[in-house]
């Protein structure tokens, strides 16, 4: 390589000038690196991060490699959705326009322990992935409770902390949860519900609620705030309570499906303008217009250890064109937290019990 010309004479720098110039370079580089360390959270220890959210769940439930960090015990379900015409004028999403859309779902228990007994909590959850013909997807994670205990991710984190085992006793401080609820009056509707809620004997008899609000957006761009519920078509005799044993839900589901598909109606509640769209701890008053958007038909189950639902992250913000997230802060926190949990568990697939058994054979 040839130099272009003889370099202009560069008088050597004095020691002071050289030091100043090198310091200048160091300052520029350090400023950029420092800004980066602030943005990635290293220098901002007060910030609630997805990592902290999932860490507290692991602290409370133990680490179960390969499993979801929350709602860890469940079963995959396969079926489809049959739309009615009712939601079409509110949303341009293809799922409401096509006669049928395939669904891969998951019915689960909320705790983060995959070996929790089915009677551990009175809540069940339903997660669904609708795959539209145009390739877009609608993923939703619903719960059988009507409202969420808190309205913000910070409060959710504090609630988890209140349930964390005390290092001294290995058990949660019994005063912590009551103290939390005392300081969080927004949890009153949830507490009133859970007082009378009993663990159900079946996944099939539960109503599953979106809890968070979303927007339906039609072809003209009009936005309507909504929440939705999956309401079971066939109800058992009222008051069916959980049988003895810890694993009855999956057996019950398989038994029911052997007799034929199970159906739920997708009921979409339209918010009035005054209804809170950004607070999942508050129910909307009754009397709202409700659309019957179609029927969910579940046909068969698959084990969660190797079924199709295992590798699906039911991120509630994976939405097709025609459905949008609201400014409910829990929605984004769920999306961010699920992504963190998904990376942890997909890194551990080979540690799942099924994978271990296969490796031994």
């Amino acid at each position: 390589m040839v130099d272009r010309s003889s370099p202009p004479t560069r008088p050597p720098l004095s020691a002071a000038s050289l030091t100043l110039r090198l310091t200048g370079i160091a300052v520029v580089v350090a400023a950029l690196a420092g800004a980066f360390a602030y943005v990635n959270g290293t220098l901002d220890s007060q910030r609630l991060t997805p990592k902290a959210l999932i860490n507290v769940l692991e602290k409370n439930n133990g680490v179960h490699p390969g499993f979801r960090r929350n709602h860890a015990k469940g079963v995959c379900v396969i079926g489809h959705f049959e739309s009615t015409a009712e939601a079409r004028s509110y949303s341009s999403a293809q799922v409401f326009g096509e006669a049928q859309t395939p669904v891969v779902g998951r019915l689960a228990l909320p705790p983060g322990n995959p070996y929790a007994p089915d009677s551990a909590v009175p809540i069940r959850s339903m997660a669904l992935r609708f795959t539209q013909a145009n390739g877009q997807q609608w993923r939703t994670g619903m719960n059988s409770m009507p409202v969420f205990p808190v309205g913000t991710p910070e409060a959710f984190y504090q609630l988890q902390q209140a349930q964390s085992p005390d290092p001294a006793t290995g058990k949660p401080n019994p005063a912590a949860a009551p103290a939390f609820f005392g300081a969080h009056p927004e949890s009153a509707p949830f507490l009133a519900w859970i007082k009378t809620a009993k663990p159900s004997a079946s996944y099939a008899t539960e109503t599953y609620n979106s809890v968070n609000a979303f927007y339906l957006v039609n072809a003209a761009g009009q936005r309507q705030a909504v929440r939705w519920n999956m309401v079971p078509v066939a109800q058992d005799a009222a008051g069916a309570t959980a049988p003895e044993g810890s694993d009855f839900l999956e057996k019950d589901l398989i038994q029911r499906l052997s007799a034929g598909p199970l159906r739920w109606q997708l009921m979409i509640t339209l918010a009035n303008p005054e209804d809170p769209v950004n607070d999942a701890s508050k129910a909307w008053p009754s009397g709202r217009k409700v659309l019957n958007a179609g029927t969910l038909v579940l046909e068969r189950t698959q084990p969660q250890l190797n079924g199709e639902c295992r590798d699906i992250n039911y991120d509630p913000l994976v939405l097709p064109s025609g459905i949008e997230g609201s400014d409910d802060p829990l929605l984004v926190a769920r999306s961010a937290g699920y992504a963190n949990s998904y990376l942890r568990r997909t890194s551990e697939v080979s540690q799942l019990p099924a994978a271990k058994q296969e490796a031994q054979q």
């Binding site: 130099d3 560069r10 370079i25 991060t49 877009q136 295992r310 590798d311 064109s321 990376l343 697939v349």
Partner: protein
Amino acid sequence: MSAQPNHFAPLARLLHWLMALMIIAMLFIGAGMVASVSERHEWLIHLHKPLGVAILLLVIVRLFVRFSTQQPPLPADLPSWQALAAKASHVLLYVLMLVLPLLGWAMMSAAGDPVMISNSFQLPSILPANAQVFAFLRKAHGYLAYLLFLTVLLHLAAALFHGWVRRDDVLDSMLRGKDRG
């Protein structure tokens, strides 16, 4: 053959500075979004994906420009280890600029996620869904992004060293189009 230029071609300089801004913004957006549960997470993701597509398209244009224009030579009195470091770091910068957007696209595909760049614009999947492949690609995306940030810092420090300490033509060749007086 024409004489060696004293500066980069105008289009190369435009692409350099445009992409410098985009890539630094992209690195901050990526680091911020995975460390946030607030509404920032969502709007940063909505910036991250289209910006990634734009960087991927621009880096392809840039590689064409790189190979179809003449680069100014390094100063003849540059120690050989510095010349080697300059060449190696530029190869690394190009490789990472190209690979990081492709990794982002591939990891979304491997997660089985629809690759939605906006509310309605969808790219095809480039890999079948596979959880273990996803985990590998997602980690590679993160670690290589940190490597790119470190390489950018090194590149910046070296450019300032040329401009402020060595006082040669290297920094000038990317800043201005005309010869030094």
